[in-house]
Amino acid sequence: MVSRRSQTMSYVVLLLFAAFAIYPFISTTLVAFNAPDVAVSGLAIPREWSLDSFISAWNNPDAGIGRSLLNSILLSVSVVVVSVFFSILTGYAFGTMRFFGSKLLFPLFILGLIVPYEATVIPLYYQFRTLNLTDTYWSMILPCIGGSMAFGTFWMTSFFKSFPKELLEAARTDGSNRWHTLWRVIVPTAASPIFALATILFIWTWNNLLLAVVMITQPELRMVPAALNYFVGLQYGSNYQITCAAAIMVALPVMIIYYVLQRRYGADVLAGSLKG
């Protein structure tokens, strides 16, 4: 039996850590609900709750938060759809088949798990510039798909490896070919790992700042993190109400997606998906 005292201890420790995790969210939210021209200090609990900071952040024509949200959604959705599809294919090959060169190719993919974007961004920029593709969606979408393949392949391979061999055999004796086995037999049972992969790739793509500031300079094409970076650099970068309001609007979509998916699949699946 575990004593009551150590049980209480556990809750105290958990609550302390939870407070640490949640506190910046609270302070950011509170300050953002102050009007931009009010002097703020301390916890900044608004005397009058106001949406003015959100409105001025949203309406600022130079920063273009609304437009950048659209850009980022377009980027993240297309990267996730293509990368997940390709990862299912590579994972299926590495996870269920033996073939010449697989012992070499798989580690080559895994290497990508620890290659930072810093190691690729310089030549990528100059290549895209030569092709006149900087300042286009392609300059973000293509490298992000490439960058997602290492993790996607790793994650889907470990799923396919754990898939019961008997079911694969059964499908084969039923005369269904490998392509049909994949889409009719296996993928329908894999909703949970596939959604987990999609979520994590979405978060990574959405949050990619380095590529976003390097590849895109046109304001209309700016991605969300780059728009925020621009925002902080503007003359009112020190206006905490407006910058925090902008940050909240930008963070909300990802938080909602995370909330919905973890309700459905559990935070565990998401964490499991991160076993790099």
Binding site: V2, T28, G112, P143, G152, V232, A271
Partner: protein
């Protein structure tokens, strides 16, 4: 058939990851401003970068980040997991959700949130003012000595929950009988942690270390948005230095050399972790 399946993914991976890596190495041996013809200069860029004191400053900044965004979160998470692994916790999924939340937020957003928290008039200074008095109030991110640890704590905040969720998911594979057996042997909480919990989550521990180490060594978003690498060079990381060299100052060769060196440091770090914490 297997080759056809791999082909599309591999083409993207090769074109946008493998080839650029090799190309970065090539660029690091060149003198080039992005426009005029490329000149081969051998190891000159490496000599220049390694004899620049700012490089060593940025490496030191990186190591402080490793302490704050890798070692400390892992240590804190181990402590937390050690405490709660032995007990039944109600509402654990709620806590997991809360802990993981910071990791889902873009570091760009995190930087803005903490700039306010650390501001002269921000809430942290309000507490300090109330408890210790006005003379202890600091503009944390603007203070040459405090900026780096202050930013490190932001890194700790951003990665801690991720490590907790990882390690917690590891503890779920540990059979409860092992705890009972340990208790029958008269093991206290500390011995229980070292004989049951820690060996049970070795794999998750290794993955957490690798992921947070990589993140800590290459951190870019936080210093760029919270401090612009300042004051002075106090929070300039190698990534930020590389970005400035190449994309602001047109120093492509030295910037590429930094990128290559950073990648090597990451690889060596990951190899070390893999040696120290064996999975099976």
């Amino acid at each position: 058939m297997p080759y056809l399946l791999i082909l599309p993914g591999f083409v993207f991976y090769a074109l946008f990851v493998l080839v650029p890596i090799v190309d970065t190495v090539r660029l690091s041996f060149l003198e080039w401003d992005g426009l005029s013809p490329q000149v081969f200069v051998g190891l000159d860029n490496y000599v220049q970068v390694l004899s620049d004191p700012n490089t060593w400053t940025s490496l030191r900044v990186s190591l402080v980040f490793v302490l704050f965004s890798c070692l400390l979160p892992v240590a804190a998470a181990l402590l937390l997991v050690g405490v709660i692994a032995r007990t039944k916790i109600r509402g654990l999924s709620f806590f997991r959700f809360v802990f993981f939340l910071p990791y889902t937020i873009a570091l760009a957003v995190v930087a803005i949130a903490w700039r306010w928290l650390y501001a002269q008039d921000g809430s942290l200074n309000a507490i300090i003012r109330a408890v210790f008095g006005e003379e202890f109030v600091r503009p944390f991110l603007g203070d040459a000595d405090l900026a780096l640890p202050a930013l490190g704590i932001v890194g700790l905040w951003a990665t801690f929950g991720f490590v907790v969720v990882m390690l917690l998911s590891g503890t779920q594979h540990i059979q409860k009988e092992l705890y009972e057996a340990a208790r029958m042997d008269g093991a206290g909480p500390v011995r229980e942690f070292f004989t049951v919990t820690l060996p049970g989550i070795r794999h998750e521990l290794r993955v957490s270390l690798v992921m947070t180490l990589t993140l800590a060594l290459r951190v870019f978003d936080l210093p760029l948005m919270a401090t612009q690498g300042g004051p002075g060079y106090a929070t300039t990381t190698p990534s930020l230095q590389m970005y400035r060299d190449v994309f602001i100052n047109g120093q492509i060769g030295p910037g590429s050399a930094i990128a290559v060196l950073l990648t090597i440091v990451i690889f060596v770090g990951v190899a070390l972790v893999n040696r120290l914490v064996r999975s099976e």
